[in-house]
């Protein structure tokens, strides 16, 4: 699960869940920026995992629905995918950089602004209309597909697993996106 502390209300449908993840992503960016140089890599990896879960869920589950339901959905989704592609490139570059270098922080900041803006666009131009056009059932069912992506790599490692944090990424960050995509597709096939 992404985050279900006592503090959060349970997510009701997929839009709720994604908006909640937007808030967590924003939070994690602040934590990476604020982390001291030694801990920055580990916090960054947590961010990368959450971004992978989130973007995969959007690409595989939400955007296809938006494309079908929204008037002008093709164009809206194409714009979002372009933004996601650019963000992924930045994420991959960051992944190869020394997290303690000043260049890392400046690129991280660039990524943060790109992701925040992307999230605002989604909320305003996509999610708003999904709630109008999609049935409550339809939106609630999609929560399961997002959870499948989460299962590939939990964002909050279990207590005692901290030392293994680095291994969860297991290779370059883009490979993580691929593994999540497979998991979501599998979950969706099982669903039908």
């Amino acid at each position: 699960m992404v985050r279900q502390t006592h503090d959060e209300a349970p997510s009701q449908d997929v839009v709720d869940l994604l908006v909640e993840q937007h808030a967590m992503i924003r939070e994690l960016f602040a934590r990476v920026t604020g982390a001291d140089a030694r801990n920055r890599r580990a916090t960054f990896e947590e961010l990368a995992r959450l971004l992978a879960i989130h973007e995969t869920a959007e690409e595989e589950v939400v955007h296809p629905l938006a494309r079908r339901l929204l008037p002008g959905g093709d164009g809206v989704v194409r714009d979002r995918l372009d933004e996601e592609e650019k963000a992924k490139e930045m994420l991959a570059r960051l992944d190869e950089m020394d997290a303690e270098s000043p260049e890392f922080l400046s690129l991280l900041d660039e990524l943060r602004m790109a992701v925040l803006t992307h999230a605002q666009y989604e909320e305003r131009y996509e999610f708003l209309y999904l709630r109008q056009q999609g049935s409550p059932d339809q939106l609630a069912r999609l929560v399961g597909a997002v959870r499948a992506a989460e299962a590939v790599a939990p964002t909050r490692p279990h207590p005692g697993m901290e030392s293994a944090t680095g291994n969860l990424l297991a290779g370059p960050v883009l490979a993580l996106f691929d593994r999540m995509k497979d998991a979501v597709r599998k979950a969706r096939t099982n669903e039908t």
Binding site: E8, A9, R26, R112, L116
Partner: protein
């Protein structure tokens, strides 16, 4: 050290026009900017909007074509100033985040003015109003967590507490009871005039903002909350605008507007930590000095009076955004149950107040109450940020029972 805007030289008007590149300001960082920098931006936008609207009204009431042209020249520059200032707000922030920042302005700006105001009747007007904006902040903060899953402390950054003030449902008074008595233009201290103009402008901008932003929301509770608080903002504008002496001449009012802009840009220049934003305050101060000079000339020519007769010999103390937590808590403790009757304040719910309450609520809970109920239902608690201990008013504490 003292700064007297009447003695300073500004930028000549014909050198004030900016091109598109110069107007294209870099917005504040939505997550890392100083919350009080954002408060200064919102305040100055309200001040510029008032300057513009005032100038339009003046022009519509002005028979002299030369004066109309002079007003138009200055007004165009004021419009550019408004664009440069308000465009500092980041597009990556949602309208609700900006709303919460507006309420933080209303709390900490009004509290500062209440603390500094020399006239007791005017001071009371600010003390009365600030407890209402303080409550609005709490209601919007609960809406924010509900629709955006974020906490308002990310915006106000523990500088301003978030908890109930005078409950919004009690802000709906008979409209006639919102009209205060004005200060006397010949007796009032120049500082009092600046305060009244500043708070009136800030509330007017808030009113306009909610008018336009409210219907952009889809969630029924969000739409309704903006309607309800939007109507209270109308009451606040009525409350504060009636403090200004309506016997001031148009020329005198123009001078007061320009002088107030000099005062605020100077204050913000002195207190701004962000160098890029400070450069804008400084540039605009230098523009306003010239606008003030022009206004003073118009007053001398048309009113036959010297501006020095109505203005302070030097700028008052720098207006500062800073936490006012202890002050707000003291007001909560002593003034929570006030309402207005005529131009004064009373503690009992009088007949006219009761009638309005019955009519507007129609026997149901208003949106400002339902937002808290819905939030509790969904999260099992309310959103509050009480950094200085439990709420000073026992009955407004969040009881364990209500958290279950």
């Amino acid at each position: 050290m003292a700064f007297n805007p009447l003695q300073e030289r500004g930028i000549p008007l014909d050198q004030q026009l900016r091109n598109w590149r110069e107007l294209n300001v870099t917005p504040l960082d939505p997550d890392h900017a100083d919350p009080y920098t954002r408060c200064r931006v919102i305040t100055m936008n309200g001040i510029e909007v008032e300057a513009i609207l005032f100038s339009h009204q003046f022009s519509r009431n002005c028979l002299d074509a030369d004066v109309k042209r002079q007003l138009a020249e200055v007004r165009y520059i004021e419009h550019q100033q408004q664009k440069a200032v308000n465009w500092l707000l980041p597009g990556a922030a949602s309208p609700l985040e900006t709303t919460i920042a507006y309420e933080q302005v209303a709390v900490d700006l009004t509290a500062w003015v209440a603390r500094m105001e020399p006239d007791p009747y005017l001071k009371q007007a600010y003390q009365f109003g600030v407890l209402e904006d303080f409550d609005h902040l709490y209601r919007y903060a609960n809406l924010y967590e509900m629709v955006q899953h974020r906490k308002a402390e990310k915006i106000v950054d523990a500088l301003t507490e978030v908890m109930p003030g005078r409950p919004t449902k009690f802000h709906h008074r008979n409209a006639a009871d919102n009209v205060r008595d004005p200060y006397d233009r010949d007796e009032a201290s120049p500082l009092s005039k600046l305060h009244a103009l500043t708070i009136m402008s800030a509330e007017q901008q808030t009113m306009n903002f909610y008018m336009n932003v409210g219907p952009q929301y889809m969630e029924p509770i969000a739409r309704q909350l903006y309607q309800e608080i939007g109507l209270v903002e109308e009451e606040h504008v009525t409350h504060y605008e009636s403090l200004v002496d309506p016997g001031e001449t148009w020329w005198e009012r123009l001078v007061n507007h320009e002088y107030n802009e000099c005062y605020l840009y100077h204050s913000f220049m002195e207190t701004e930590p962000d160098p890029k934003v400070r450069a804008i305050w400084e540039l605009h101060l230098n523009m306003e000095l010239e606008h003030l000079r022009i206004a003073c000339d118009l007053m001398r020519r048309n009113d036959g009076r010297e501006p020095e007769e109505i203005l302070a010999p030097e700028l008052p103390n720098v207006l500062t955004f800073e936490p006012n937590k202890a002050y707000i808590r003291e007001l909560l403790d002593t003034q929570i149950d006030l309402t207005t009757l005529g131009a004064g304040y009373v503690r009992e719910a009088h007949e006219r107040f009761e009638r309005m309450q019955e009519q507007i609520h129609g026997g149901e809970k208003p949106p400002s109450e339902r937002i808290i109920d819905e939030h509790r239902e969904r999260f099992g608690r309310e959103y509050r940020m009480e950094t200085e201990g439990p709420h000073p008013v026992e009955s407004l504490r969040e009881h364990e029972a209500s958290r279950a």
